[in-house]
Amino acid sequence: MNRYTTIAVSCLLFLFGLFLFKAVFLALGITLVFLLLVTLLEVVWLYRKSTVILGLANLIMAAAIALTVYILTYLPIEFLTTEILLIVPKIPSLFSLTFLLLLVIGFSLVNWGRILKIRLFAWVLVSLVVLSGFCYGIYRSHTLAIEYLPKIYRISPTSGIQAEVVEIKGVNFSPVWKMGQIFVGEQEMVVKFWNEELIKAEMPVPSRFGSVELFIIRNDDIISNKVPFEIKDPGKLKN
């Protein structure tokens, strides 16, 4: 970058930082980081044809693409399984690591220098990296938003009669001294046992039979996801 352009951009960045953070120290910090990056880039550009820089660029590219593919494939699946469909509370950490390492194996075999020479591929890769950045941003904001909400993953049994104890497994049910309420349809169940991840509750005398929804209202009035539950008519039960 031209020296005067760098100075002009630095000044603009400083003003922008000042406007954004309303603090001189932080604005100065951004400007200094920018200057540091520009210097670093200039040094890299100067020695761009050296084998060390080329080798390093290849490694960084392989790592970046592996992470990009990981973000675009694994994270949405993980989010879907643990937060939306509520199939499992957590996927074992070995899965994510194995998947990531498999991607690294695959992408470290590729000669990225040759691929990036083709302009179309270069643009596709850059777009993928940018897309993964957006995807990660969305994933992060959603994860943070629903991370601490009460979630029911499994109930056992899924149907019952009066006085039957239902076991509810999930996360973030809040501790026992902040016990909430459990509803089956419009009726409240009798809590027998309560902790952060497991609740045992007894079915009340049902006002009606059939399919209803079971859910938890926490002490802070936050409602969990609703799971289907069937209240059976004892008169229709076979011996």
Partner: protein, 234 residues
């Protein structure tokens, strides 16, 4: 096999880059659902395999190097023992240079040369520890460990690292401007660390910023005083 080894090395290097990135962003609270502790352990295992593989590939060179070193040490030790034995024998009266006397002198020579060998080993070790590259690496890794790994602030460690910084400046003839520049560069990290609520790391970085700036200014002052003295006509 050689091709597979080269692929494996590239895989290891890429894994290292990724591990470094994930660990760094992890410090700022960005999680990618990867267990970093497990990742570190796996990376260490991969590195261990690479290390053993590399050793097996170069076993002939390693074996010859160890053998050469052993022979060199052995010959040196024998030579020293013989010389010491001769020196002792020449200073003894003839009555004591019989068969028994010679044997006793040999034992004494072995003890003396072992001691002198130990002394030369300590000398080599001292030269190795105070080697400028080792000193620099010790300082860099020490500062990184102090900032990012240790969860407490120890005055003793900081003093030790400041000592090694001064030694590095002396050995590399670093200018005061350099120390001040490192201080300023480190200063840029502070606001971001504070934004990401990493107060402890920010505090430690701030300590190092202060150290670098102070050392830099002292160096500049010393240089200025020296130049003043030179410019004053006698």
């Amino acid at each position: 096999m050689r091709k597979i080894f080269s692929f494996y090395r590239r895989f290891l290097e890429t894994t290292f880059v990724l591990w470094l990135f994930l660990s760094t962003v992890g410090k700022f609270g960005f999680s990618f659902m990867v267990d970093l502790r497990l990742f570190s352990r796996v990376f260490f295992d991969i590195f261990l395999i690479y290390f053993v593989w590399e050793a097996i590939n170069n076993r002939a060179t390693i074996y010859s190097a160890i053998k050469g070193l052993f022979l060199k040490v052995k010959n040196e030790f024998n030579l020293r023992t013989e010389t010491t034995q001769k020196n002792i024998l020449s200073s003894l009266p003839k009555v004591l240079t019989g068969k028994g006397g010679r044997f006793l002198v040999l034992i004494l020579a072995v003890v003396v040369s072992s001691f002198s060998f130990l002394l030369s080993f300590i000398k080599i070790l001292k030269r190795f520890i105070f080697h400028r590259v080792i000193l620099l690496l010790f300082f860099i890794f020490g500062v990184f460990a102090n900032i990012f790994i240790l969860s407490f602030t120890s005055d003793l460690i900081i003093l030790l690292l400041i000592g090694s910084l001064i030694l590095n400046i002396y050995r590399y003839k670093l200018k005061g401007e350099f120390s001040a520049a490192v201080g300023f560069i480190s200063l840029t990290a502070c606001p971001f660390l504070l934004i990401f609520k990493k107060e402890l790391i920010a505090e430690k970085v701030a300590i190092w910023v202060y150290v670098f700036l102070a050392v830099g200014i002292i160096q500049i002052l010393v240089k200025y005083i020296k130049e003043e003295k030179k410019s004053v006509p006698k």
